[in-house]
Amino acid sequence: MRLKNYQWVFALMGLVLGIMLAFQFRFTREIHRTESVQRVQELSAEVNQMRQNHEALQTQVNNLRAELDNATPLNPVLRDELEKAKVEAGVSELSGPGVEVTLSDSNINLRPGQNPNLYVLHDEDLLKVLNEINAAGAEAVSINGQRLLATTEVRCTGPTIVLNKSKRLAPPFVITAIGNPDTLENSLKMKGGVAEALQVWGIQVSVKKIAQVTVPAYSGGIKFEYAKAAG
């Protein structure tokens, strides 16, 4: 009787110990899978440093451009030409009347079995809205402070979108466009238009006319590696 009791205690201890060991093993395996924390911290510090560096260089470029503008002779025709080219190239900050378009994901409560992917904003929705804005004569466009260039792509990656190669934006997406506010608003809100089409999926499109909006310059380097000027 006494001996039996003693065996029970050991069996119980063994069981608990075994479970503990198994847990321990699993956790250690997971630790191996997570990348070393230190490395990520280093990387993050490095990226922050580079961001500052980038910003400083960007300011320097802007200042140099302004200086060059002032240092060169006043030929109004050439000057006007450069000004226009800068607007189209997206390297100058602009302001003017326009609209602010806010897009946010669906507020519909999904029933089980419905595909949630149908009710979130996709890159093609953004493409359509941007295309509509261009068709309505927008002169300069940005999303969440990122200027749109002729080479800007819109990529949907999970809940965020990626623009200008690595600029990640999170919802809500605010498109700022300079142009005729009435034309811009009407083209988006017209019957059978893009806002109506998106509303089917519960995606909210709100258009606000604003007397003065600012569209920032492209913040990055531009360089063509493949395309060369042809005669």
Binding site: L68, Y226, A227
Partner: protein
């Protein structure tokens, strides 16, 4: 006998205590652990920043050299200004360019190949072109044109009846999208399994060809800015 039981219980408790302590330590380090996705994200950002910084440095050097030149005299100043103007015009898409790239041809599905149903289904739509252009941009295309209409930041691609308007110019099928960039990257980004070409091929015909030299014309329309004014803040 009694003593030995106490002894073994004490031993087991000791080991248990140690294990619990270890367990606690590892769990707390897991909490501050970072999933490897973040590392990937940071690496991607770092790579792009590196590229941007290099390009900005080049831009600084270029502008500094031009400024120096401009200080020498009025004819040098005009030269410096003209060369800056040419560079900005190149970025804006106001210059004819050439280089390696791809040619993507999109056409309505031939009538005998249609499985039936609404014939409109088998026409190239503006969305198809938009998606192709977006994919090419994502793959690093530097200049794009559709049927020789240069795509600018403000270009629209819009279905209007049986044709598609680009830069307010009517285009009709077949649509030839030309893009300058790394030809292999451009081609594979379109032809990736489950990608755009595979998707579109169910409705229309899509053909992607690499080219050693593609010429893309300048934007020919008039640039008019009635609303946008420069804030002179760069």
């Amino acid at each position: 006998m009694n003593k030995s039981i106490y002894f073994s219980i004490a031993l087991v408790s000791l080991i248990l205590g140690l294990i619990v302590a270890f367990q606690f330590r590892t769990t707390s380090s897991i909490e501050s652990g970072v999933p490897s996705g973040r590392e990937q994200e940071l690496t991607m950002e770092k790579r792009q920043l590196q590229k941007d910084i290099t390009q900005l440095r080049e831009e600084v050097d270029d502008l500094t050299a031009k400024l120096e030149e401009a200080g020498k005299g009025s004819s040098q100043a005009t030269d410096a200004f003209t060369s800056e103007l040419l560079k900005i015009r190149l970025y804006a898409g106001l210059t004819k360019v050439e280089g390696p790239g791809v040619e993507v041809t999109l056409d309505n599905l031939a009538e005998n190949a249609r499985p039936g149903g609404n014939p409109n289904l088998y026409f190239v739509k503006d969305e198809d072109l938009l998606k192709i252009i977006n994919d090419l941009r994502g793959a690093g295309a530097e200049a794009i044109a559709v049927n020789n209409q240069r795509i600018l930041a403000t270009s629209e691609v819009r279905l209007a009846g049986n044709h598609i308007n680009v830069n307010l110019t009517k285009l009709t099928a077949p649509y030839k999208v030309t893009a300058i960039g790394n030809a292999t990257t451009l081609k594979s980004s379109l032809e990736i399994k489950g990608g755009l070409v595979e998707n579109l091929s169910e409705r229309i015909t899509v053909k992607v060809e690499e080219r050693d030299n593609i010429v893309i014309p300048a934007f020919t329309g008039e640039l008019r800015f009635d609303y946008a004014r420069s804030t002179q803040r760069g």
